[in-house]
C-alpha cells in the first residue's frame, strides 16, 4: 500500500496549497503623468495688451477634446503663448518642455494665407521647416521652440489652426521637421478673424 499512501499525501498537500495561496493585492493607483488634457492658447495684443484665451480640454481623459473657437481681431499683431497641462494631476507640462527645450518643438499649420504674417499655411510637413513662421523663443542651441510666437492678422476670415508638439530627443536640429520624432500633441482649433 506504499504507493497509495504517497498519492494520498500528495493530493492533500496540493489541495492545502491550492487553498492557502489566495492573495488579493491590487496594482497601486498610477498617475498618468504624461497625459496632456488641457491646452491653453493666450493671444496677447501687442498694442493694447488685451489677452484672448482659448482652451482645449479633455476632462474625461478619454482623448476626445472639446475646443474653444479661436476669435481674434483683424489687422492686429499678437504674441501667442502656448501652455500644456495635465489638469487631472494639476501639473504643468510647459515647464518640462522649457527644461527640455532642445528636445521639443511646436509646429503650426493653418488655412492658407489666413494671416498677413506669416503668410502661407505654416511649417508642418517634410519640406516645410523653413516656411514662414515667427518664433520668438529659442533653445540652448539657438533653435526655436514655439512656446512663444508672433502673428499678424489681416482681413476677417475663418479657418482652422493646428498645433503639433514634437518630442525630438537627440534629433532636433536646424533641419529637423515635423516628420521627425514623436508627436506629443496634435490638435486643431477652429479659428475666426473678426472685425
Amino acid at each position: 500500500m506504499k504507493n497509495m499512501k504517497y498519492l494520498n499525501v500528495l493530493l492533500l498537500a496540493l489541495l492545502v496549497g491550492f487553498a492557502s495561496c489566495d492573495d488579493d493585492d491590487v496594482p497601486a493607483a498610477e498617475n498618468e503623468e504624461e497625459v496632456i488634457d488641457n491646452i491653453v492658447l493666450t493671444f496677447t495684443d501687442d498694442d493694447t495688451g488685451d489677452e484672448f484665451v482659448f482652451e482645449a480640454n479633455d476632462p474625461s481623459g478619454s482623448g476626445s477634446f472639446t475646443y474653444d473657437d479661436i476669435e481674434i481681431k483683424a489687422n492686429a499683431t499678437y504674441t501667442l503663448s502656448v501652455e500644456f497641462n495635465n489638469a487631472a494631476e494639476g501639473e504643468s507640462i510647459t515647464e518640462e518642455i522649457e527644461e527640455e527645450a532642445d528636445e521639443h518643438m511646436i509646429f503650426f499649420e493653418f488655412t492658407n494665407n489666413i494671416f498677413a504674417n506669416p503668410q502661407g499655411n505654416g511649417n508642418i510637413g517634410a519640406g516645410s521647416r523653413d516656411d514662414a513662421l515667427n518664433y520668438l523663443d529659442q533653445d540652448g542651441n539657438g533653435q526655436p521652440t514655439g512656446l512663444s510666437t508672433s502673428w499678424q492678422t489681416g482681413d476677417a476670415v475663418a479657418g482652422v489652426f493646428r498645433i503639433v508638439l514634437k518630442h525630438q530627443p537627440d534629433n532636433k536640429s536646424a533641419t529637423s521637421t515635423s516628420t521627425d520624432g514623436e508627436t506629443d500633441v496634435d490638435v486643431e482649433f477652429p479659428i475666426a478673424i473678426i472685425r
Binding site: N3, L14, C21, E34, D184
Partner: protein, 801 residues
Amino acid sequence: MKHLFSTLLFLIVSTLVMGQQDCRVNCSCSIKGKIVDAQTGKAIEFASLQIKGTSKGSTTDSDGLFEFNDLCETEVDLLISHIGYKQLTHHHDAFHNDPVVQLAPDNLILESIVVEDKAEKDLSKSSSISTIEGREFEEIKSESLGDALSSISGVSTLTTGSNVVKPIIHGLHSNRILIINNGIRHESQDWGQEHAPEIDASMAEGIELIKGAAAVKYGPNAIGGVILINPPKMELSSHFHGDINLQAESNGRALDGSFLFQKGFENFAWMVQGAGRYQGDLNTPDYQLTNTGLRESSLGVGLRFHKRQWDFETHFSHFEQKLGILRGSITGNIEDLADAINDEIPDFTEDFSYEIKAPNQEVSHDVLKLKASHNFTNSRLDLTYAIQYNTRKEFDVRRGSNADVPSINLELMTHTVDAEWLHPTVNDWEGTLGIQWLYQDNNNVEGTNTIPFIPNYNNGRIGVYIAETRSLSTNTTLDIGLRYDFQNASFRGRDSRNDIFIVDENFQSVSGIIGIKKTLNSNSEMRMNLATAWRPPNIAELFSYGKHQYTNQYGFYRYTNENGNITTDVVLDSDDLSVGNELGYKLIGTYSYANSKIILEVSPYLNVIKNYIYSAPSGIINTVRGTFPLFVFKQTDALLSGLDATLKIKHSEPISSKITGSYLYARDIKNDDVLFNMPANKISYQINFTKSLGNVEWDNKLEVSYNFEQYNAPRVIPAQTFVDDRNFNPFATDDSNFDFTKAPEGYTLVNASSTLSFKQWVVSLRGKNLFNTTYRQYTNLIRYFADEPGINFELGVQLKL
C-alpha cells in the same frame, strides 16, 4: 473523469496485487547493450566489460553486443575498455535499458559516451519529434533560442529586430507553444509578441521539438507544439569534463562566451555552467541599426545524489538580459508611423555604439528545481517542485523625469509541483499517470507613472493525465492519452478612473491524444497522431489596456463596440461577454525512410483551432497625440495546414547534402479571411564536405536558402491614407483584415561555415548572409521601419576538457 480515476485505481491495485517478480530475489537480473566506435559507429568486437567490485566480466561479440545474466542487482557500475580506446565507467540502472556505449579512439578529442534508451521521453511514440544536439547544436547554440530552433523545418521566428526572437511552430507562437526547460514549464510574460523566452540556448546540451499538440503530458498551451530544452546530463562515475567556448562576431561587434564543468562520483554528480554576451548596434548592408545592443548573462548549478533506488536532483539557474530595440521603430501617432514607413533610413540612425538607450527591455528569470525519483521494482515515481521568478521592465522613450522610469514593470512568481508515475506494464500497456499543480502570482511594480497595460493576476491550476502506449503487433504501436485541467484565475486592476476592479474566472478543459507508429519495412516507418490541446485566453487578450508602441490595444473585457462606436472606459467579465477557450485539433503524420544513401522525412499536418484569438486593427482613435490605429482582440476559427520535408543524401565520401522545405497555408475559416504574421514558406539546400587530415578533422558547410514572399498577407491600406483623410474608415466597403504595408519580397540567403577540430580544440569560422543581401522578413515586427542585418562573420574557439 470518473473513468480516468477508475483506470488509475485499477492500475495501482493491479501493480500491488500482481506485482511482478523482483529479479533481485532470485538473482535473475540482466543487462544487455552494445559497444560501438564513437567515430565510425561500427561495432567493436572483443571489448571487455567488468562489473565494478565483482569478478563478473564479459566481452562483446562480432556485432558489438554484450549481455550479463544472473545478476542480483539492477544497478551496477560497468567498467568498459578496449585496446586503442578510452576507458569508461558507466553507472547502469534498471530504467535506462540497453545502453549503447560509444568508445572514442585514444587519439581523438572525442570522449567516450553512453547513449541510453530514452526511458521516459518517447512515451508518445507516434509524435513527430525533431532533435538538434551534438556538433550540430554546438554550432548554433550562441544564437537566440528562436534562431537556434529555426534550423528545424517547420520552425520559423517571430522577431522584434534581431534581439527579440520567438520560435513559431507551424504558424503558432507565444501562448500557443510550450517551452519545457529542464523539465519545467517555462512561465513568463509570453503574451507579448515582443517578449522572447528568457532562456540562453548556450546553456543547453540539445533541443527537442514535438510538432504535435502534446498537451496531455505537458498541459495547456501546447496547441502548436512543445519545445524541450535539455541541460547537460549529470552522469555518475564520470571524470571531470566540460568545455569553454569563446566567440567573436563582426556584425554588432559582439563577444559571446560560455563554459561548462561537471564531474560525477559514485553517488554524486555536479555541474556548473555560465554564459554571457556583449553586443553593440547591428548594421544592415546600408546603415546602422541604432540601439540594437544586447547584454546577456546566465548561470546554472546542478547537483545530483543517487542512493540505490533514490535519485535526487536540484538545479538552479539565473538568466538576465538587457536588450535595445531599434530607436527608429518607435513612433507616435499614425502620421509618425506613415513618416517612419516612408523613411529610407530610420530616424535617429547614428554611428556604431555599444550603448543601450530607450526603448529597451530588462528581463530576468530564476529557476530553482528540486526533483526526487524513486525506482520501485518495476515502476518509478518522479516528484518535481520548481519555483520560477520572472521580472520584466520595459523602458519607452519618455519625457523629463519619466525617461528613466519603466512603462511596464512586472514580477511573476510561479510554483509548480509535478508528480509522475511510470506504472508497471499491465496487459502490455506501458505508460504514466501524472498530476500537475501550478500557482502563479503576477504583480505590477508601483511607480511606472502610467496606467498598467495588464492588471495583477493569480492563477491556480491542477491537471491530471494518463498517457499509455501498447504494441498491437510486432510492427505497430498504439498511443492514447487523456488529460483534464481546471484553472482558477483572479484579475485585479484599475479602470480608466483608477477605480479598482476584481474579476474571478474559472477555465477547464479535457485534452486527448491517439496515435500509431507503424514500421513498414526495415527502411521505413510511419507515425501519425491526432491530438487536442487548449488554452484559456491570456491576460493581454482579456485585459490589455492602452498604448503599446504605435497602437492602442484593448482586450476583450476592456471595450465595447456599438455600431462602430468603441468605448474603452468599461470593465466586463464573463457574464457580459463569453470568451471561449482556444481549442486546437492537430493531425500530424510523419513518414520516414532511411537507407545507406538517403534519409527522407516528410510530415504533413492539419491544425484546426476553434476560438482562435488574434489582435487586429479595427479602426482609428483620436487622441491629444493625434490619430492612432486602434487594435482590439477578435475571436474566430483558424485552419493551419502544411508540410515539412527533409532529405539527407550521402554522396560519395566526403560529400553529403541536405534539403529542407516547409510550406504553410493559414486561413480564418469563419470569416474566409487571411491571418496576420504567418511565416512565409522556405526551402534550403546545404552541402557538407568533411575530411580527416591526420589528427585534424575538417568540416565545411555551405547553405543556400530561399524565403518566399508571404502571398497570403492581408490587403494593404497605407498609413498615409489615414493621414490624408482623418476620418477614413478602412472597413467601409470591405471588412477583411488589412496591413499598413505589403509583405516583403522573397529573398535568398547564403551562409557558410568551416570547422577545424584537433585534439581538444575546435576552431570555427562562420559567415552569415555572405552576399550582404538587403531584405526584410515578414514576421519581424519592425519590418515597417528597417532592413534585416547584413553580413556577419563569427569566429569561435572551443576547448573541450
